[in-house]
Symmetry: C2
Subunit: 242 residues, 2 copies
């Protein structure tokens, strides 16, 4: 077996580095959507990827608020390992982690896909070029304006749930997904979609990668409003990169 | 940020190396089941894992029959990369790849979990200690006796579909999963379960990691026969190792 020739062959191809584990089901689901959303009709046409799934990365919301350990060194460690393995780009299927996007992308030589840009690209892909975007996500993501600034810059209006609604619906659903109680996570997430719709949102962004797990694809047409899923949007951005 | 301390912390913990991409949906699904089957109730309790998802690995059935390129160098490349990153054990969510188990496990210093042993452990976990095991899988896996020898050694009888049935039901279903036509893959897979049941099988083993995708968990109770799923069995074996 000519290993040197093989190494050459393997390194020729580009592959995506995925910093996962935040949570681990979101990372696994991202990998699955990368497959499901592609047009490949056999294994060999799919995008090669390495998932670094490190669920030990400390919680992002608490870390950003300095109420828990800092996740940034853990995230940098994973990203550095992926880059050292030769990843040609990095995807991070966790919205809240993007609060550290500038630090992470400045520290590595390869492009780091931005989940918010991926969502905006997906809004356009779905034919939504203006109007009011209803936001769902963690309290940290929403409070710190991760999506709001980018949406305004791209000509969208936005609305978000109240602090109480974020706690009762978004965070409740996210916590249930993290605790492997995915079936129970549906009700609070769907309730939040319905509130945003009743207040005039034209589309709802699932701006936390746990939320697409709470609201599985088959039930979405029944919600009566377009949904942009940050896992799917990031997977599509990765395929565009590839 | 004290990176040296962090590297120490990160390397302290064990993590699982997963050689995926065979096919890519089976690898992603393995990662998801590793999460879903655990008792963790927050992210940080889950098993750290790295998935090397390389769908470019040449087809295993054709490769073993020398009708296509040899997948072994590609598999060894992935396993070596996982080990060099510090994986404490390797899991390979592809049954046919286990035709090269001896070569792979002899070449690395860390344990390589064996999917067939994991299935036998799961039979026992399900309380099935004897009887006739109906086998489904690729033609190569079934023809070359990957499961049969191990089952006999552990006191089970076995049966498998005819060559025509393997082509019409198992291979057809596996190919549909590989082509992202998962909904269509259900019918041939369910038909094969029904044939094995009608011939007296006491349990059916989904001995190809594409087949659990064709037969999603919610429909299995309706099949009227216990099912052992090689993805779930391997995920449980990984958790036992961890």
């Amino acid at each position: 077996m000519d290993i040197s020739a093989l190494n050459h062959t393997c390194h020729e191809g580009r592959f995506l580095g995925v910093l996962g584990g935040m949570g681990p089901m979101a990372g696994a689901s991202f990998m699955a959507r990368l497959v499901a959303l592609s047009n490949a009709d056999c294994d060999q046409q799919h995008l090669p990827a390495i998932l670094w799934s490190d669920p030990r990365i400390p919680g992002r919301s608490k870390g950003y608020a300095k109420l828990g350990p800092d996740p940034l060194p853990w995230m940098m460690h994973g990203v550095n390992r992926l880059v050292s393995m030769g990843a040609g780009a990095i995807a991070i299927p966790c919205n809240t982690a993007h609060l550290w996007y500038e630090q992470i992308s400045a520290a590595v030589q390869v492009p780091v896909l931005h989940i918010v840009q991926a969502v905006i690209d997906d809004l356009r892909r779905q034919g939504i070029h203006q109007g009011c975007v209803g936001l769902m996500g963690t309290s940290a993501t929403l409070r710190l304006g991760l999506y709001q600034r980018a949406l305004e810059k791209n000509g969208y209006r936005w609305m978000m749930p109240t602090e109480t609604e974020i706690a009762d619906y978004c965070s409740a659903s996210i916590t249930l997904v993290g605790a492997n109680r995915i079936a129970e996570a549906l009700k609070p997430a769907a309730e939040c979609v319905s509130i945003l719709k009743s207040r005039g949102a034209d589309v709802v962004v699932l701006g936390c990668t746990e939320l697409p797990l709470a609201l599985p694809h088959p039930i979405r047409p029944g919600l009566g409003i377009p949904i942009v899923d940050s896992i799917d949007a990031l997977a599509l951005a990765a395929m565009d990169w590839y």
